[in-house]
């Protein structure tokens, strides 16, 4: 039902030709960033028992709010399923889509949206029950696989099985949670999704220790925030929010030491990050201390990673591809100057 409403909303938005005002003005007027998230993927966006949203994707939205308002709490989170997400963004229902969304050519070029960076380098894998004794995805011939609809996951699986001549039956659900539950209750032999999400959803299963991932990683899944096409100011803000978090980690600036750094540091890079020098907030239409607010209130990328998906979280994922470039990973931000 909701899906239809949103489609209708797209139609309406397309019809009336509204949204001529820039996203930044709209957001400022509203007093909050509207951020599209998942309806519950541990580690990325999930509400805790008090109803506060937590996760790596959530932190990116909080960082955008910190940059725009100097207050990371001025965010409204809107849970969306995979099918609704782009429509919700294009129709103006949300300002940023930060919902474990894979950057692909079709999405970037044909949907009227832009990807503002990669906040998690992921890959697709398969979960199976350990008692089956499987060693490889290639042994899944004839298996039933649970998967979320409207995702690149569905296509990657089809491509991989086709290329390897494996027959399978997909059982397709609206949300990843439903697909994981169906796998847990035995409807499917395997459950496929991005490995980071699999790690999160596994913690919710009846007996997480009886479930394991097969070794193959069958795809590249660069996940990142998405904005509407055609509003470069807003695009830049979201892009540089992520870059600021990365640069802060690289410079060793954390939420704990940023005040000390602000008064004591003589490193010109740190000074530019904090907004004492350099381009400040001018080109972004933001306050000069925008990056300071992000790091002060939300933390740098490393802090967000460890607290949500890394070693301080139930998921316990290694940094892997998501380590900084100078530590063997792929996370690399252009310099702030």
């Amino acid at each position: 039902m909701k899906k239809k409403l949103i489609s209708a909303a797209v139609l309406m938005a397309a019809m009336t030709g509204a949204a001529t005002a820039g996203t930044l003005e709209t957001v400022k007027e509203r007093g909050a960033v509207q951020c599209g998230v998942t309806s519950g993927v541990p580690g990325f966006s999930v509400p805790d028992d008090k109803g506060n949203w937590k996760g790596l994707d959530v932190d990116l939205c909080r960082a955008v709010a910190a940059a725009v308002f100097g207050d990371s709490t001025k965010v409204k989170f809107i849970p969306l399923n995979a099918k609704e997400r782009f429509t919700a963004l294009v129709s103006g229902e949300i300002d940023v889509l930060s919902r474990v969304t894979t950057w692909t050519q079709t999405r970037d070029t044909q949907l009227g949206v832009n990807f503002a960076g990669v906040n998690y380098y992921d890959g697709q894998g398969f979960l199976v029950k350990k008692d089956l004794g499987l060693k490889s995805v290639k042994e899944l011939d004839g298996a039933t696989v649970c998967v979320q609809s409207g995702t690149t996951t569905e296509l990657n699986m089809a491509d991989y099985f086709r290329a390897n001549g494996i027959t399978y039956t997909p059982v397709v659900f609206d949300t990843n949670d439903q697909a994981a539950q169906a796998f847990d209750s035995g409807r499917c032999d395997s459950f496929t999704t991005d490995l980071s999400q699999a790690a999160g959803l596994r913690t919710r299963m009846q007996d997480p220790s009886s479930v394991g991932a097969l070794p193959e990683v069958i795809s590249k899944e660069p996940l990142g925030p998405v904005v509407r096409q055609g509003d470069d100011t807003w695009f830049n803000i979201v892009k540089w929010t992520h870059n600021a978090m990365l640069n802060a980690e690289e410079l060793g600036v954390t939420s704990a030491n940023i005040d000390k750094m602000k008064s004591e540091s003589t490193d010109p890079n740190v000074k530019r990050l904090i907004g004492l020098d350099g381009p400040k907030g001018k080109g972004l239409d933001l306050a000069d201390d925008w990056a300071y607010q992000i790091v002060k209130q939300v933390g740098n990328y490393g802090e967000a990673y460890e607290r949500n998906v890394g070693k301080d979280s139930p998921l316990g994922l290694d940094r892997g591809l998501n380590a900084l470039w100078n530590q063997g990973g792929l996370q690399y931000a252009p310099p702030m100057r």
Partner: protein, 407 residues
């Protein structure tokens, strides 16, 4: 408005030249016929302009935002699998094929649901009027329970509470070579061998013969009053003839038995649990409404009719079949049509449990992979509109046929 002004300006001149017409012509705006015509033309042009603006604006805005439009995507390769398809479908098929697969699955569930709901609904409707206290109360209880619980919850109940708790494939419940487990209901598939064509021919010949016999019997009854056991003959012919042919030609039908191989059963026919759950929920829910419709129809037949039939010495079953039901149908058919339409449209709730119907496959995965919301949603809406119109067309035709034809 301006043309209106000028014509009114001309009129007095014209009438002055013709020198007092015999009947005084009312002013243009005082003639109710012309006035209503004017307003209708005005309304139509405003509506036309509104629609033109909507379409034009939509296209312009879509282009501005860099969103691809058009129906080219239908020929592109879909690249995703579908759990259940009535036709040959692989990942290499086109997006257009996903539309057909989804459409057929929607039609399948609608037809299955309509048949089951009608049978169940008629039985319950008649049962609710039964003299037997237990039967009547059971029927009333059923109707009140299932009519008052939201359909989506019922679908979830059948899917999660009933079918999910079935055993794993390895511990399947087995009977008569069929298996039931949480992957569905798997039964042997019949494989026709050489000579089976004869049985098929016999079956259709028997149907044709039954039809001829029914016609002959009706004519004879009208002429002589003698009755002929048409129903029994039909059953005997339709079952008997193919059976005899089948036995004599050496039983030319093999069975493809399902076998547990690897993860799942291979061979046989698998009915996926999503289909079973949706079918049960739709049939049971709609049957409750149909039962009430049937009850209303039967109650609408005046009691005098039944009394007259009893006075003529007709049995209870005959009274029901020949007197009550034909008259009740006239009342039942129009609301029954809306129940059928409801069932068809409700089948789109399939997407909640992953049954691959049109909404799930086409307005779901295909929409999301291509991003062409407007095209996909309008195609989907057109399908439901067409299905509904066809159903109501057929039902209206049937309704017209059974209406009282006065001679």
């Amino acid at each position: 408005m301006s043309s209106d002004m000028s014509s009114s300006g001309h009129k007095p001149d014209g009438s002055a030249k013709e020198k007092a017409p015999p009947v005084s012509q009312p002013k243009f705006w005082n003639d109710p016929k012309k006035r209503s015509l004017l307003f209708q033309v005005l309304l139509l042009s405003v509506l036309g302009f509104v629609f033109y603006t909507i379409i034009d604006n939509t296209l312009t805005n879509l282009e501005q935002r860099g969103i691809t439009t058009g129906f080219d995507f239908l020929t592109r390769e879909a690249g995703f699998g579908i759990a259940m398809s009535l036709i040959d479908y692989t990942e290499a098929s086109s997006y257009g094929m996903t539309f057909i697969v989804g459409l057929l699955n929607t039609i399948l569930i609608a037809v299955m649901g309509i048949i089951a709901a009608t049978i169940l609904g008629f039985i319950l409707g008649v049962a609710r009027l039964s003299d037997n206290w237990l039967v009547a109360k059971f029927s009333a209880l059923y109707i009140e329970i299932f009519r008052n619980i939201p359909l989506l919850l019922q679908i979830f109940f059948w899917y999660y509470a009933v079918l999910r708790t079935l055993p794993q494939p390895r511990q399947s419940i087995e009977f008569l070579g069929s298996f039931i487990n949480n992957r569905g209901f798997i039964f042997p598939a019949p494989v026709p061998e050489e000579g089976f064509g004869l049985v098929t021919v016999g079956f259709f010949a028997a149907i044709a013969a039954s039809w001829l016999i029914a016609r002959w019997a009706k004519k004879r009854q009208e002429l002589t009053g003698q009755q002929f056991p048409v129903a029994l003959t039909t059953i005997g012919l339709v079952i008997g003839v193919p059976l005899v042919l089948f036995l004599f030609s050496g039983m030319p039908l093999g069975l493809d038995h399902p076998e547990l191989k690897g993860f799942n059963f291979k061979g046989g026919i698998t009915v996926i649990p999503e289909l079973i759950a949706l079918w049960l929920a739709l049939s049971i829910y709609t049957a409750a409404f149909i039962a009430e419709t049937v009850r209303a129809g039967i109650l609408a037949v005046s009691h005098g009719q039944t009394e007259a039939a009893t006075a003529l010495g007709m049995s209870k079953a005959k009274t029901l079949r020949l007197i009550v039901i034909p008259q009740a149908l006239r009342v039942v058919i129009p609301p029954l049509t809306s129940q059928y339409l409801n069932l068809t449209k409700n089948s789109s709730l399939a997407t909640a449990i992953g049954y691959p119907d049109l909404v799930n496959v086409f307005a779901g995965t295909t929409l999301n992979q291509t991003g062409q919301a407007i095209e996909v949603i309008s195609m989907t809406m057109a399908v439901y509109l067409a299905l509904s119109l066809m159903t109501s067309f057929f039902m209206n035709w049937y309704n017209a046929r059974i209406q009282l034809s006065e001679r």
